[in-house]
Amino acid sequence: MASMPAIRSREIKVAQDIPISKTLPFWEGLKQGKVMATKCKKCGKIYFPPAADCGECLSSDMEWIELSGEATIETFTHVVIRPLTFQHERPYTVAIGTLKDGVRVLAWLTGFRPSEIKVGMKAKLTATTTPDGTPIYVFTKPT
């Protein structure tokens, strides 16, 4: 990178193991085609992304619920300049949608022509699998 005299630093490669033991039903749910959230049994607050603990009332007594798929798109962007680890992807659309349950979800928006995408339009939150076999959730066209 340097245009001036420089010494190259020692190289280090890192990747962390991210714990999912407390959100395992979410990751398992994706494989069964479900997008799951948690709900605090004490105060009723719904968490997406799912949380094992309630930041509102500090209870850890949570239950798993399946989210409704119907979403209204609040906002979106087409990401053209991509990060290092997304270089292999074509430019993608990231959107935030509000579900009927009241929670918001950020995910890729797929299956629409760019000109069709508008704030306020309806989309469907869908559990799916990436070409390399990773379970994930995306917004798709309502059928």
Binding site: M1, A2, S3, M4, A6, S9, I18, F48, P49, E74, T75, F76, T77, H78, V79, V80, I81, R82, P83, L84, T85, F86, Q87, E89, Y92, V94, I96, V103, R104, V105, L106, A107, W108, K118, V119, G120, I136
Partner: protein, 390 residues
């Protein structure tokens, strides 16, 4: 709380600084600040150093230590502050509270960042990871321009803000950067050039985005007793520091047309300073992307919600207008070495309030001698609003 003044400021040249190490870069801001204050490094009792990319995009893991040694500050109290792009303001706040509480009589806030030692896709990766890594980056590769593009889309849909309005912010800030010798991007741009620049994260284009910069800025704060002892002629007093944080996940925000953390931090700062926004002579606002400046006008109370674009269209945020904003070129064109930015805002604000050292072409006329610095970390993940007055 004791009264606290800014008694010395310094700022390096911003831009590609592959000629210097992190310590050498910090020294370029530190030395003029020390000389400005008329003190020696041994007088500094506490150091808050801000830098966000240590060990990631430049090689030093604990930059506060190496910079302090290099600048002759060994022995002082020391910490590194991290509040993403608001790290510099967090360091300033920490130094301010240290002096205001009586813990120290002289404290240093110094921000330094080197962002150009790695390639751009890796930098986009690191910065993109800075929201909620697992839920918004790991799965969906949301980038930092993407964060603000989500806000731009929402603002346009709700208030009719246009891509031309965004371009006007770039045109203004490049104009002032062209008058600022330490700015990173000193070229003037036109609306047409901005609109035809490549798309980064639609609707944001290249000229809607700040550059990736290296730079450093330093601020020396002193207690009122020390100000008298040192016979500081023209102290600039810290009037207030307001703060707030927002959610890590963008999906948990109330809406996307403004930043709640800015509104909250600003209300706190105005209350503590006992002023209203219309008393400000000058403001430096967080314009990492052009939409950020328009939202800042609204969230800081310079205009009603939804009327930010009107303010820039009417030229009200230029020198001679209702409230001159980012007359140093802003993050957009002066540059945004993220750990340095907050301290660089205090540097510029101090120079403006003194009305002496800034290039005459971009000196704001002072009426009340009150200025504001608004520094956001992430997309409102952190916010600090600092008010200074002479």
């Amino acid at each position: 709380m004791k009264r606290v003044a800014v008694i010395g400021v310094g700022c390096s040249k911003f831009g590609n600084r592959s000629d210097v190490t992190i310590s050498e870069l910090a020294f370029e801001a530190f030395k003029p600040a020390i000389e400005d204050a008329g003190i020696t490094p041994k007088d500094v009792e506490f150091v808050a150093l801000s830098s966000a990319g240590a060990g990631a995009w430049y090689e030093e893991n604990l930059p506060a230590v190496v910079v302090s040694e290099y600048c002759g500050l060994t022995g002082a109290g020391l910490l590194r502050s991290e509040a993403a792009c608001a790290s510099g303001s967090a360091a300033f706040a920490t130094a301010y509270w240290t002096v205001a509480s009586g813990q120290a009589d002289i404290a240093l806030a110094i921000g330094v960042e080197k962002m150009r030692q790695i390639d751009t896709p890796t930098m986009v990766e690191f910065i993109g990871r800075s929201g909620y890594y697992l839920w918004e980056f790991h799965l969906f590769g949301l980038t930092f321009p993407g964060y603000y593009a989500l806000h731009a889309t929402a603002h346009m849909a709700k208030y009719g803000t246009t891509e031309e309005d965004l371009a006007l912010v770039a045109v203004k800030n490049h104009k002032y950067a062209s008058m600022n010798p330490i700015a990173h991007l000193r070229n003037k741009v036109t609306v047409e050039e901005a609109l035809s620049s490549p798309v980064i994260a639609a609707p944001l284009k290249l000229y809607d985005c700040c550059p990736i910069s290296d730079g450093a800025a330093a601020v020396i704060l002193a207690s009122e007793d020390k100000v008298k002892e040192l016979k500081v002629e023209d102290p600039v007093w810290v009037s207030a520091v307001g703060y707030a944080c927002g959610t890590a996940n963008l999906s948990k925000r109330r809406d996307y047309v403004g930043l709640d953390s800015t509104v909250k931090a600003a209300q706190m700062a105005y209350r503590l300073a006992n002023i209203t926004p219309d008393q400000l002579d000058v403001a430096l606002v967080h314009d990492c992307f052009t939409i950020a400046e328009i939202m800042a006008y609204e969230d800081l109370g310079f205009c009603k919600k939804g009327e930010g674009a009107k303010l820039i269209r009417e030229g009200q945020t230029e020198i001679g207008g209702k409230i001159p904003v980012n007359v140093d070129g802003g993050l957009k064109a002066k540059g945004h070495p993220i750990g340095a930015t907050g301290c660089a805002m205090i540097y510029e604000l101090t120079k403006q309030l003194r009305g002496e050292a800034v290039e005459r072409s971009r000196q704001v006329p002072m009426k009340n001698y009150i200025g504001l610095a608004h520094n956001v970390g992430g997309t409102g993940h952190y916010c600090y609003v600092t008010i200074l007055r002479r």
